[in-house]
Symmetry: D2
């Protein structure tokens, strides 16, 4: 590894520039990771567009990084239980681990926490806060997970969408052996939820998509979806009643971005006492909603904020178990120089499911 580290820096909306940064000096509590692969999700697209132009400061984006420990302090090595040469997956969130919420183990509700990786500006020392770079800095508060080196990098990097699938479907939704799950939306998060639910023993997993999602719905079936619904050709609620013999679903997960109708479908399709998980952001748009529908069913509606360590750990276990053909989920790889093209591919290529940047080739 040379003394200078190359990175794809976002300097303006939809504009990246390759820049070099000095290799940081590592002390006893921190480290440096050589990035093997960095995944891309919807947040990256928003960040790339930056319509509001609020993020004027240059920044290395990329918050789904996988790589090899290049250098690590002695205390950090002991705490994290990893050493130079180990492969690790990073969490993007840096909780303070000291406030009252963190002290209770509720890191996701940290009073001071923030998404660090992929979002801190390069002006903040030591600049290397994003995965679209040859190396990423390991801050002492970083949460990371060891991953087996036997797995191809483009599969191992799926720990991030799969972590979301585990947390949203299984932990927040409570999907377990024999349950029926309805997933509204057939993107990478939707398919990841199918995998997580099947890994947990779900008996029936129904997935909805648009007509143009046909190939993604086919992929969902390959990963164990028992039924798929083309919402442009069929009435979602009627079809779900038919499939479930009127018993409706134990859990419904909405991962559709911007669409409001699925939220009411979710409430209509969940059984009495069931759980609805909302994970698809709607651009702050409001919708018509009847509180009585939730009350009469004794239903629970959960907002899915982020992914926690337990979910990442289980996602990595699913990956390492080799019990799903996860390579089919990965559709595109790009070099560091092509980072903008990687993001644009996820944005506009209808066949793109999981896309990753591989900064070291």
């Amino acid at each position: 590894m040379p003394d200078n580290i190359r990175a794809s820096v976002q300097i303006a909306p939809r504009t990246h520039q390759l820049q070099e940064f000095p290799r940081p000096v590592i002390g006893p509590d921190d480290g440096l990771m050589r990035v093997e692969a960095c995944g891309i999700c919807g947040s990256d697209l928003e960040q790339y567009e930056d319509h509001g132009g609020r993020r004027t400061e240059p920044c290395i984006a990329g918050h789904e990084s996988l790589g090899i420990i290049e250098e690590i302090g002695e205390r950090a090595s002991q705490r994290w239980g990893v050493k130079s040469g180990d492969r690790v997956a990073l969490e993007s969130y840096l909780p303070c681990r000291s406030c009252d919420m963190c002290a209770r183990g509720e890191f996701m509700s940290c009073r001071t926490g923030s998404f660090a990786y992929g979002f801190f500006p390069t002006s903040r020392e030591p600049s290397l806060w994003g995965g679209y770079a040859e190396c990423i800095y390991l801050h002492p508060n970083t949460l990371l997970h060891k991953v087996s080196q036997d797995i191809p990098a483009e599969v191992a990097v799926l720990y991030n969408p799969l972590g979301a699938g585990v947390r949203w479907a299984c932990h927040l939704g409570g999907v377990g052996e024999g349950d029926t799950l309805l997933v509204l939306g057939a993107g990478q998060r939707g398919i990841a939820a199918v995998i997580a639910a099947r890994a947990a023993g779900a008996a029936n997993v129904i997935v909805t998509g648009l007509a143009r999602d046909a190939s993604k719905l086919a992929l969902a079936r390959e990963f164990g979806a028992s039924h798929t619904i083309d919402v442009e050709a069929e009435d979602t609620v009627e079809r779900v009643k038919q499939i479930t013999d009127g018993k409706l679903c134990d859990v419904v997960l909405d991962v559709t971005p911007m669409a409001l109708e699925p939220v009411n479908h979710a409430i209509e399709c969940v059984r009495h006492g069931g759980r609805v998980v909302l994970a698809g952001l709607k651009g702050r748009r409001p919708m018509q909603f009847s509180p009585d529908a939730v009350i009469q069913k004794g239903a629970t509606v959960v907002g899915a904020f982020g992914v926690d360590s337990r979910a990442y750990k289980e996602a990595i276990s699913i990956i390492e178990s080799g019990r799903f053909p996860l390579e089919k989920l990965h559709t595109h790889s790009f070099s560091l120089e092509d980072t903008p093209r990687a993001i644009e591919t996820l944005q506009s290529d209808g066949d793109a499911v999981c896309v990753s940047v591989h900064p070291n080739g």
Copy 2:
């Protein structure tokens, strides 16, 4: 107890008639209870009005009954663990206890269950299905709880609203030692939630009400509310931020009937990772709602359907402990003949909090 049992039968909307029914023959698995007191809640008001006129069949209403076991079968006595002369409180819901939901202990989601007490028509044998009667029939599936006879009947009958307070604030909301609860609405259920939350150790309980609820808000403070808000004079959200020093509330419970604004207040006032419990029905009216508000906060919204055995048991424990001046919650008692006036009092007397009918004087 004579051979004929008198009851106040609802024969048309807002119309009751005193009728007599033969005393039922009790077998090994059922029983008969002499009603000491029967409480009244919002459901009774709806039933009394019966605007839709759907319930054309005569019916003995009253689903919050407390009384003395008059006669009981041998097997029933063993199962329920009570005998003739014992005082018991009845649950209104009769789950089948055999379907898959009941087998898992989720009686409230029983696939075939229904509110029996207070809702079955008199045409269904043996007619005595409601609390506005000298005696009520104990069906073999009845769920009942023994209550100490040392407590005045008008206090013991509060097991019903207090059970709702326990389930909604503590079980569904998760209120515990040191928590901050916001209760939207100052009726009997709202004040019951204050009591339940304080019994569970809540450090701060904030209650909202209208200007005309001034006496009920004062009562809430007597039962341990730390702050009350007159929503006509103050901005609820701003006031909650001020009271909580910006930390917002761990749990928010909405018990306002028909009002939609409080649902959005609830979501605005709950902290990241907190819980919102919706218990106030809105007449099926829809509202403007932003899913992102729930997602960004990682909040959980729970529909409060009914009250379960665990909550009734804890409510009775609170009553028997004598640690709250519950007699202040009870404002009016009526005789069997005055059942319609009892219902109308709760409906239109602004000072009425808990009202009960005492069929045996």
Copy 3:
């Protein structure tokens, strides 16, 4: 089905007699099931020997019954959600469903409950309380589960040992995705726990056995055990430390009958904060045990009493999913006449894992 029903009645220790009983009259709340298969477990062996001679009354044993609904009352059909001709699996335990524990959904701690199926004497009407008979009576309180008819009876009847595996390893032990489980004992319950744990995503499952259990340990590996230990050739604790790289096990389940040493091995092999499940009865024999070992580790030790509805439901889901070659778990089938030989086979044939009686051929 003829009017008389044949059964293998235990009339003395190790002595059965074929007897005929009149077909019971079925009312609205009960039913009759034609037995396809009845499994055998350790409790059957104890019952067969009846060393104490306490159970002097004749009895039809067999509490793991699978069969076809022969006749069913109208209300029973509605409650259970099944009809004549459906295949169902019976729970052996008949909770009262009325006491305070049952009302809370804790049926296993029912204050009046008892093992009915396989244990009630024939003197109790209508005699047909056991699975070693052409038909079994469906008491109104029976808990039953619908099972697909596409599965061979000798596989479907595995719902019982597999239900134990699910409850003991996953529900009481908490085994989930990525966890490490140690199972002490390689009998049918031990192997069932391997299956349940792998279905729940356990990353590592270690199973111990005696030298003579070699074929059962091989079967455990076929079902997904990652390591097996011959406790006569290896030191269990040392080997577990080696396999887990010193991290020990998240969960340890002891199913060894009569052996005391495994209980201490369990505590030594569980990690800090982990869970130990004890399911192997020891004939009331005491052992040397150090409370400090449990305290210093912050460990939880759970006594596994019976199997509940949720576990049976999940076991049936695993069976119906077809994701394990469960036919390998079943080793012997016998006719009704050969019931004693079936029991003796499980008792003394080292290769017997799961054995069943098929009363209707």
Copy 4:
């Protein structure tokens, strides 16, 4: 505060020496606390005796410290949410907050964690690791809780034993509204458990003690124990059966040090499906124990290792609520110079319940 800080240093078993240490330089992530009071518990007694003589290094003991923030770094102030002049209570345990157990919020099972406060030697910079000193160092990983200054220091310092009561009785034992708890042992931890259980709504709390504990049993009754048992005059198990009308206890907590008999009493006195919490260390001595007793009851036995943040937070809420006369729990206060006498008082004065050292007078 002068530049030199005085401390009572343990230099040999039962031997303290007053020493002075330079005031540490505080950076952005740490702080310094002026000790108001430091409580004493059984661990302090063991440390004072140090029979094994293993801890040869000089050390400032005292791990139950309460005090005023004297100096604090800017980042530390933001993370902890406190500033100079605030009163805080310290947790003694310093988890790494980075290992897999900590990442899951299970700090008590931290793979690298240790009791820092009261146990690190003075040779470790900056020496001030114990509460028997004018000031204590606030390491960046310290977990601390803000406490109201309206409460006398000798009451506020009870956060430590009360935290144990909350965790052991309520969190690990699950005591809630209406439950029956048996506490074996009437020392400070036993009485703290009575308080915690009553705060959580326990209906019945039974406490056992020796004849010489008469005054402590009386104190337990003052704090809400419904019954007390002199184990030298009465048979514990028989008396519990009598008090509970044969229903036994939902939860049993053993806090007796060194005694083995209570562990078996605990198992005999817990109801089917109930929980036993073991918190009294037995000097690694083994006992006779029957696994079947735990299995047949479906009981859960939990080893109580330490106290976590959630429990401390709830204990402080109980203290701040003022709903118990906690000043009666505190029996003795000593100056810094008298630290050895403080420890010896708890050790040998039968009337001592909670004893504290007040290093700044």
